[in-house]
């Protein structure tokens, strides 16, 4: 592999330097995700001028503002609708959406479901911190049961959305989930997601020390980052233990979060299929409406 780009060059090439340091709190994982995205783009040799970054509202949705490329900071939960429009207007563009767990599965849940189902050829990077970070820590559809939040002071009673499972069942072309504390897997997944035709999701578990960690007594930044390490497990490893492990091993594993690549297929994206349909109709003009004129 060629030598990885160094940070000094990366800042010059990819960041709107005047916007930095970011608004993210000390120890927030969101910045690392952006770092990995830049490295993925660099390794793929993509041209930032041929890319558009879209986002909704939330801390995670601030990300496109730091990228030295065209971006759309849209309304809460609606980034996928805007991204779909960009892709419709110019299918040649690489469109990457940054979204939060709240933005993508709360207010924007239906946009997410239908963009995946329609197989819009975009890459969605969801920074899942199990909470509405920007607004001070309300429960999100992803908050684990028992989460203490401003809207659940005695503990969340609702079951949590598994974003990757959802995308997988909707037939997304690419689905992967990683914690942010290992760089190489997220970088590889972002590369694969961008290159895969069809709807691609990379879910990155991003620690939020301010609105999630502190309230849930997960300790300081180090302990919170360690929590993700202790509470996630490779999906293959998980399945092996649940099938063949001892009762003790199973009990230790059952509540851990599965990580890995969950789906990787090639699917013709919606707009490509649309172009194809038009080409077919033009070629068979007389049969356009299923009969002769």
């Amino acid at each position: 592999m060629s030598e990885m780009i160094n940070q000094t060059e990366m800042r010059e090439k990819y960041l709107r330097k005047g916007m930095l340091p970011s608004i993210f709190c000390n120890g927030c994982g969101h910045g690392s995700s952006l770092d990995y995205t830049f490295r993925a783009i660099e390794e793929l040799g993509l041209d930032l001028d041929n890319m558009v970054f879209a986002s909704g509202i939330g801390c995670s949705s601030r990300i496109p503002g730091y990228i030295n490329a065209d971006g759309l900071h849209t309304t809460h939960g609606r980034s996928l609708a805007f991204a779909t429009g960009v892709k419709a207007a110019n299918p040649e563009l690489d469109v990457v959406v940054f979204s939060g767990d709240g933005d993508a599965t709360g207010i924007g849940g239906n946009h997410f479901i239908h963009a995946a189902r329609r197989n819009i050829d975009i890459t969605v990077i969801i920074l899942n911190n199990f909470i509405y970070g920007m607004t001070g820590g309300q429960v999100a559809p992803t908050s684990p049961k028992g989460t203490i939040a401003t809207t659940a002071p005695y503990g969340n009673l609702e079951g949590a959305f598994d974003i990757s499972e959802l995308a997988k069942s909707l037939g997304a072309a690419y689905v992967a989930r990683w914690p942010v504390f290992y760089p190489s897997q997220p970088i590889k997944s972002i590369k694969d997601a961008i290159q895969t035709k069809g709807f691609s999701l990379v879910e990155l578990m991003s620690p939020c020390p301010t609105a999630y960690g502190r309230r849930n007594k997960l300790g300081n930044i180090k302990k919170l980052w360690d929590w993700y390490e202790d509470n996630s497990i490779l999906a293959e490893e998980y399945d092996k233990i649940m099938n063949y492990g001892t009762d003790e091993e199973k009990a230790e594993t059952i509540n851990k979060i599965k990580i890995g690549v969950f789906q990787h297929t090639e699917k013709v994206g919606f707009f490509e299929a649309y172009e194809e349909q038009i080409a077919n109709l033009m070629a068979n003009d007389d049969k356009k409406w299923g009969g002769s004129k």
């Binding site: 940070q7 990366m10 340091p21 180090k222 980052w225």
Partner: protein, 86 residues
Amino acid sequence: MIEVLDDWCKGCEICVNRCPVQALEISEIMNKKGVRVPRLKAVNKCHQCRLCEQLCPDFAITVIKEEKEEGEEKECKLIIGGVCAD
């Protein structure tokens, strides 16, 4: 060598805590926000794996590869399966 863009550092210590060989420490140097910034320890086993550079959420660290001097034998600091991987 490790270069820190001091004024972008927020002091999360993720670089210090995650370095596989504990090569970094929080120094006495303060940036303009009053955050004490990381530096390599005087004696360290940094093998330039660049983990700190990639993990830093604030784009503040650059690891600069040190070229091996002509003829110099460098001690390998990370051996995986009998092969030097540092």
